[in-house]
Point group: D2
Chain length 370, copies 4
């Protein structure tokens, strides 16, 4: 099968680098276009990028020339699948422009996550929300482009662990306290003077995002819009001296009673995408680790090639029903990997540009419930 | 005034070292006796101790010879005020033996904190619980010794912040998620392989201690026993890569409504010990920091010479009433400094060995309500 | 080809864990025997081991039962190839016992590295020293067992970088200052209170080992003994807050002049084992990184699957001839991986138990010079 | 005595903050003027500064209004003693302008350290170089301003340890390998992604500065210029995950033989400023720590209130004569504290603006040799 051409907006940042790492040997996609801000456009990728991953920069990518980050400047070369790793304020301008130009913008930014006609998706959880994109103006007007988003890095790991619980027991309320890795802030990001031997109990807008995204992700698509889950969520977000891997402490109240065994079963039986053989979908989206002191970022961040959420310390909560700890890789599952998986499921659902037929509103539900 | 002679049990450990640091120039107390485990007894302090503080080991202490840690072995020399920095299982045997031998054992161990006739005290919060010690057998039988304890390192900082809120608004329920420093685990304590670039979401027995101690500390002494506060507490305890300073995220539900201004006023007006001029009592037990990203261990741990709790990020909770972050120095206010302050308040209340009169049950209440 | 059975002494420690990680899917070797100290013998591996690697403990290994660490106790089951990850003082007793019992003891310990008839080997550098093992008593007396060692974790990375320079320019003198990772000290190893936000400028015996091992490794085997290289080496060894990867700063004086280009050529052309297709030999033993601020542990430690040394910052020295920085993975190339590669080259040279013929003294030289 | 008015250029940076911390309660100086870059001028200090020290921002300073950083803009208010904490490229323009305007510019920048008529001074080492400032044009032309500099943060700690050795044994050659704290790079400075669990073996221009400054500092003032010491110095500079405190490994070759006892005596007897009672001069400029694993940043950085160099691990070098480790606080002794001590010694030598008489060329020598 010929690989589909894809481009990356914001290719030199830390999430852009992850996109390159994950896509360079992807069986379905081929990077043919890299864009960066004005300052870097025109430079060799290797010259413009301070590569911060512990695998080498692919030699082919190193030689690619960075394009300006507008669809207008280079209409012909821009591929119709664009992975976007932009800061929110830049995304607000650029992503609609690329959608308008006919591109599927698979975005990691927070800019449009809560927008009414923009799907906010974790494929294992709510792939059936994807047909919401058919309501975007740029699809309706025949240009065929659209924006699809993945959640905030904290919300992804959390909602992966929550989805099977919501399905079986219903979620009424939840506390979540996070200890987040510095890679989530990009590069240069968090100054070392702020985090060495320290904790910073504040991340701008993070608690708000986490609280609202959970309810959209666990909501249901009624064919026209997303009905939000009415769960109450209270988040405390903290930055800690970890490179990769967000740890989250959760206390949860269900609508139906749940035993320990039932919860463990819900997690271990949660494998909604298995039969679709998506290249980036982990075999086990949620892995329970029995050890008393797990999960830990250093030991568990790469579980499922960084695409699984590890849960542990399931125990009764003296205030709500249960409490547990979860860990998720914030730049793989929590950012670039999430977007790549979104693209894979869009391909599987025939929702990529060129594939879309206007009668397929129910496709997602079939896919995930198949 | 002549300084009272005091001894230290467990003098070579990290809390023992803090006792030495805090007591060596104390205006009321004079270290005359240091004890350690069998292996170290008989050695010069400097030879037996791996000093881990960033102030030098006092020269006088360096030359002192470590005594065996039993009252029997050296009845005459043992001072009648003993600060105990022992592991819980060792404390279980040794502390009662010293109490029985007539010593006031000012203990930092968890062994007897929840024992019915043992006061668990933070002087600013519940000094009026101290007369509970008069009910201990070794006091009643005329030997005059007893055990007084300070709380777990997490509970102290937390309850300092809670006490003024409990007084004005009543506490019904609370979530607390901690990020605790490695010094809390002693030396060698936490292996570096476990904590560098990592979070460990488990500390043995810590959540249980925190949950139960809060309610004893905020309970009331009815003249015979402590009536526990019936607040529901759910704790998540984590270890992070910080040397000193426990950070805690709190969500709290009050019995009466409280505005932001009222909460800030409760904290700033909380100065119960001021008039008693105790050497180790901080001018402000609770300090509110207005900055959006404070408190932080690196910047705030030494507030009030390590004896103040710093609070910050007061904001509404989408689930309970309010949430905030607090920080407290875990080996100063959370351990050695707590015990020293307990000793100071015992002295002020005439409850040290030699001072006790059997009619003073109400002394504490007077002291703190004076 | 049937895989040879191998055993691991000290299987539960950090180096033992690396042996398991590297050998479990090895094409030539099969782990059939794991031993640990008395305390752990008889337990399931999963119950006795605190696994500290970021890949999961192999399920098959988890179920294996730990054997006592003596050859006597279980003569029949002990495989004839033993990888030893023992503390030096334990190694002093156990390794000769296993050699005497007919085992090839491929040791990572320092106990016998400088012993006259024990090869100290880095396959790319001095595989031709291996026939020295034929002079060990347990080989001569027909029992067929022996001890072969790999160098200290600092010496390996250093000597890999030095070997091609020694060959072309001759090394006369050298300063080396190390910044070593905590995994080198095992588990629990370095207490976090000693290393968080800190540097410890002392590692017991490390400078001595580094200084003497370099000259044995770069010496030559005269058929009877090793003629040491007479280079002067002065080492400064430091511990830093890094999990894996030793960084070393080197200033070097050659006997012949060398240009920058000649040095870079010496490194890039250094591929002595390529034609032998050893499974653990890296394609490039020495990788030069051109960036001004490399190598760095976080970015380069896994180069060549952890088996390559990365060098960088080659520049003139105002005192000697040249200076540079190198980085090497201390528990892969610097410990377990080094021993596995030693075993592979022993197999290739027909020097494993059962393969040895007493006329093959020159084999190593042929192998490496072929 | 009335305190002299002083100003701070670059008051909001990390070194500027240290100046404030050290000067706010200084017995001789009073901060009356704070300047910052255009962006911050006109703001309250508290609003423009991200305070990163673990002592609170002084309340009086918080309310001061930042001035533009030019002498022209505010001729009348600018005090005649200016502490400058500017980046080198900014210093190049601003420092001469302030000198020309009649100010003594006590600079921490590298811009003019190696300039022929600019004293580069550590008071304990070469206060007798200070009269060199009388040769600066702005002194000669009667305006009375000048520039005096302190060395690079690495050079100060090093040269303090070297000066007594140079005096007694002569220094011929030296290797030095540093492990430098992140605070040396200012704020935001080193990104956490670059230093958490990592070492960066490169600091721009640092090795060059260290090598050349040593020889100017240890050189001698011949009445007209500095005769450089002709010692050969080779430096390796590294950044490590430490907040404050540069650790340096030194191998040294003397011109005369030196025993261990003689070296220790040279260090302990080195107290050149004692009789002058300068407020910031440490009682012991060089402190030898006997423990086998000291000095360490976490334990020793605050020795002498951050103004002493701690040395340790004195041992023979297999290549040169001796080797040792030293530690110095890089933002106290290595930056702001160094400049403050320079100002104190200038006051003592009657070299501050208003004090200068044109016949006092020899004053410095008298002072330090008195």
């Amino acid at each position: 099968m010929e690989r589909r051409k894809v481009g990356i907006l914001g290719a030199t940042g830390t999430v852009g680098q992850r996109f390159i790492q994950l896509l360079e040997s992807h069986p379905w996609f081929e990077i043919t276009w890299l864009a960066a801000s004005e300052r870097s456009a025109g430079k060799r990728y290797a010259d413009a990028c301070r590569w911060k991953l512990d695998t080498p920069m692919p030699a082919r990518i190193a030689e690619m020339v960075l394009q300006p980050n507008t669809p207008a400047a280079n209409t012909e070369e821009v591929p119709r699948i664009i992975f976007a790793a932009l800061d929110s304020d830049v995304a607000k301008e650029l992503e609609p422009a690329f959608a308008e130009a006919g591109c599927a913008v698979i975005s990691n930014s927070s800019a449009f996550r809560m927008t009414e006609d923009v799907p906010l998706v974790i494929p294992e959880v709510n792939a059936d929300h994807l047909p919401l994109l058919l309501q975007q103006t740029s699809v309706k007007n025949g240009k065929g482009g659209y924006i699809v988003t993945n959640p905030n890095c904290c919300a992804i790991g959390l909602v992966l662990a929550l989805a099977p619980l919501q399905e079986r027991f219903g979620i009424e309320a939840m506390f979540v306290s996070t200890m987040q890795a510095v890679s989530g802030a990009g590069y240069p990001g968090v100054p070392s003077l702020d985090i060495l031997g320290n904790v910073v109990p504040f991340i701008k807008n993070e608690e708000e995002k986490l609280q609202e995204e959970v309810n959209k992700l666990l909501g249901s698509f009624n064919g026209a819009a997303i009905d939000m889950l009415p769960a109450k969520v209270s988040a405390h977000c903290n930055r800690v001296a970890v490179i990769d891997g967000h740890t989250e402490c959760v206390s949860i109240k269900f609508t139906k009673p749940a035993t320990r065994e039932e919860i463990l079963a819900a997690w271990s039986e949660f494998q909604p995408l298995t039969q679709h053989h998506l290249p980036s979908a982990p075999e086990h989206p949620v892995i329970f680790n029995e050890a008393i002191d797990r999960p830990q970022p250093r030991l568990d961040v790469n579980a499922g090639k960084g695409m699984s959420t590890t849960v542990g310390r399931l125990r009764e909560c003296s205030l709500f029903d249960w409490k547990f700890v979860l860990l998720s890789h914030n730049t793989v599952r929590g950012a670039a990997g999430a977007a790549v998986l979104n693209a894979e499921v869009l391909a599987k659902m025939d929702l990529l540009p060129g594939q879309i037929k206007h009668t397929q509103t129910g496709a997602g539900r079939e896919l995930v419930s198949a």
